[in-house]
Subunit: 407 residues, 2 copies
């Protein structure tokens, strides 16, 4: 008999089917047991009345792997509106012991460190899995959108001899989705030692505003991906998807500081970066003023941006770069890059950096490069913002940070 | 004026358009110059007759970045059947010097080390880029196929504390596409220190043959991706796409050895692995016997497979694993994994390995895991086999090996 999934049962009422999955939960009454089986489709209730089968099932530990043959019956009170009657149950694999996580609860009650320590088990919970269904859908939406816009997906090496970023401007439009490793000693609910970055680079741009246009398209594509591919997960998580305005509000960094100073009374003039509290304040301001959960801040001071950043036209202390804040948190960083070889040499000299270890990086600029720029979206930040996670680790299968190297 | 790409010119005959791109080549005659401009669409010929423009263009180095306005005219002898007349040419960015690679040739003449040393420039050549269009299309085809088969894309950490492989069996069907780093000291035309691996894991399998079925689907999907998305690149490279038979021929390892011994006269009985020459011989045998460019070899000796490999039913010296050979080279390795916690402990003990550093890896098996398996496809191997590259480095944007760490 070929396998049926729990979310297909409604189409098989009255038929005998075979399910396979994990023993999610069981409730034993005097002469009857209700077994909840979990598979990749969801949950299904199995009604066990035959005394011999009741006795077989009673001692089974949660997470026992089972195959269950039975007849599908209407049952308005059961999950999915159906249940399995008259079951024959086969044990496929037995666990050694009780799982360290109580998977039967609608939402896990354990603290985050316990959940992370036991991730291979905790991730079996339907609600935990839903978060990663959202992540996969967002990633697929990103790729679909950039493919449509004529980008080519590339793979650049992660083993590098020296500092590097953005890199391969060999096609005119490229993107890459892959791991980024962080050498900085950040230990916050927003930072990971390894995360997934969705990078794009675009040649022949006007300025950083061209890049911001592509960035908006990419974010719209990610949300469309989630809406189109992860509907069940969205419902399970109770997620509200944000609208992206046709024109995301844009604030210059200097104007943002003035607004914050005016709004909060805090003296921030002359600051070189936005503190997390300032990002939150701007997020609330954009929502209040424009009804937008997104806001661009452009023109960050050059002092806080990497050497390859292009300065703002006419105000070289500011950069032709931007951050996109989503619900008060930096989600994307991007901007126009330098494109003239001599500009790179000057920028490096001004920062007291040597050009020699960057020879491979600088090679492209020696032989003619157009104005170009790009951006990087943090996948886990996007998903944690979307799902309302308090900690980015909740949106990471097996997080790595200053203190965590397993599982 | 908005930008037009060279591959769109045919639709604009008689109109004035603006192109942007690189000066690919120029041929100067006494009163006329032919400028070939390269953009992401391809090449276009620009006819320069105005003496002032001829003088402007003459000293420009190859790879100068240009914007060119001109009128599109029919020209059966020009690339694409059209050319640009009456051009106004603006220099966007000037190179510092002559490029180290002669990009104007239909096919690069430089040796591979020179090409790799100058990859940021060499990759501008249309034929080089076509290889990576094929790569992107194969990857997209892989993902589309596994998405359709109900897989979830996941991201696992590359920073790991101990040995690990396959990992995250938390969904029933998962795949991941990402970098793999090789600690082995291989220095051959088939090996890289970093490559892109397309991994899939499947729960609730019958045995390794179930996995081979999914593997075949994935390869078919990659070829469909290439056919559907990289038609221009295929034509440019003159690639013949292989047919995948409905039933790829399958040989047991022991039978493969017997065949090789019979066919070559070489004594191979008792060998534990296939040498590259044996893989080539089997590739030719499958083509000759079945007209297939693919052949599965199953049942490799357990001694040569990792600890998590499931033994063959009834013949525990052989494994329930397989390789897929494509044109005489191993393209995929896969198989059934152990799924019982006690089997893992026994397998580790037999190999004299400690279970302690694998605690995180073994956790899932403590709490009930179904029979499962998976496979890994090497993207660069697939693309180099497909494009007829002699060296896998030709199918890698910026290869990393024992001796190469840049560019």
């Amino acid at each position: 008999m070929s396998r049926t999934y729990t979310d297909e049962l409604r189409r098989h009422v009255g038929e005998r089917v075979e399910l396979s999955g994990w023993l999610h939960q069981q409730r034993q009454h005097s002469r009857i047991s209700f077994v909840i089986l979990r598979d990749r489709g969801g949950l299904a209730q199995i009604v066990v009345e035959e005394p011999a089968v009741v006795r077989t099932v009673a001692p089974l530990l949660p997470e026992t792997v089972l195959a269950v043959e039975g007849v599908v019956a209407d049952a308005p009170q059961a999950p999915g509106g159906v249940e399995l009657h008259d079951p024959a149950i086969t044990v496929i694999a037995e666990p050694r012991e009780h799982p360290p996580i109580e998977l039967r609860r609608p939402q896990l009650k354990e603290q985050l460190p316990t959940i992370l320590d036991n991730a291979p088990v905790a991730l079996r919970h339907p609600r935990q899995r839903a978060i990663f269904e959202v992540s996969a859908a967002a990633l697929a939406g990103y790729r679909t959108t950039l493919d449509r816009l004529g980008f080519t997906e590339i793979q650049t090496p992660k083993i590098v001899g020296g500092a590097t970023e953005s890199g391969a401007n060999v096609f005119e439009r490229v993107y890459e989705t892959g791991p980024v490793f962080r050498a900085e000693p950040h230990d916050t609910p927003r930072h990971l030692a390894e995360y997934v970055s969705l990078d794009a680079e675009i040649g022949f741009i006007e300025d950083h505003r061209t890049v911001m246009g592509f960035c908006r398209e990419a974010v719209v594509g990610m949300l469309e991906g989630v809406a189109g591919r992860a509907g069940t997960a969205l419902a399970q998580l109770g997620i509200h998807l944000p609208m992206v305005p046709d024109e995301i509000p844009v604030l210059h960094f200097a104007d943002a500081l003035a607004l914050i100073e005016e709004g909060t009374g805090e003296a921030v003039t002359g600051e070189l970066d936005l503190a997390p509290s300032h990002e939150r304040w701007l997020g609330e301001w954009a929502l209040r003023t424009y009804g937008s959960e997104f806001v661009f801040v452009e023109g960050y001071p050059m002092d806080k941006r990497p050497f390859y950043t292009h300065p703002e036209e006419g105000r070289p202390e500011f950069s032709a770069s931007f951050d996109l804040l989503f619900r008060g948190l930096e989600l994307v960083t991007g901007g126009q890059r330098l494109h003239r070889h001599e500009d790179y040499l000057r920028a490096l000299a001004e920062r007291g950096m040597s050009a020699a270890p960057l020879e491979g990086y600088l090679q492209a600029f020696r032989y003619g490069m157009p104005p170009h720029g790009g951006f990087a979206i943090g996948l886990e930040r996007f998903v944690s913002r979307l799902t309302g996670a308090q900690n980015i680790r909740e949106a990471t299968l097996f997080p790595r940070d200053l203190k965590r190297l397993s599982p």
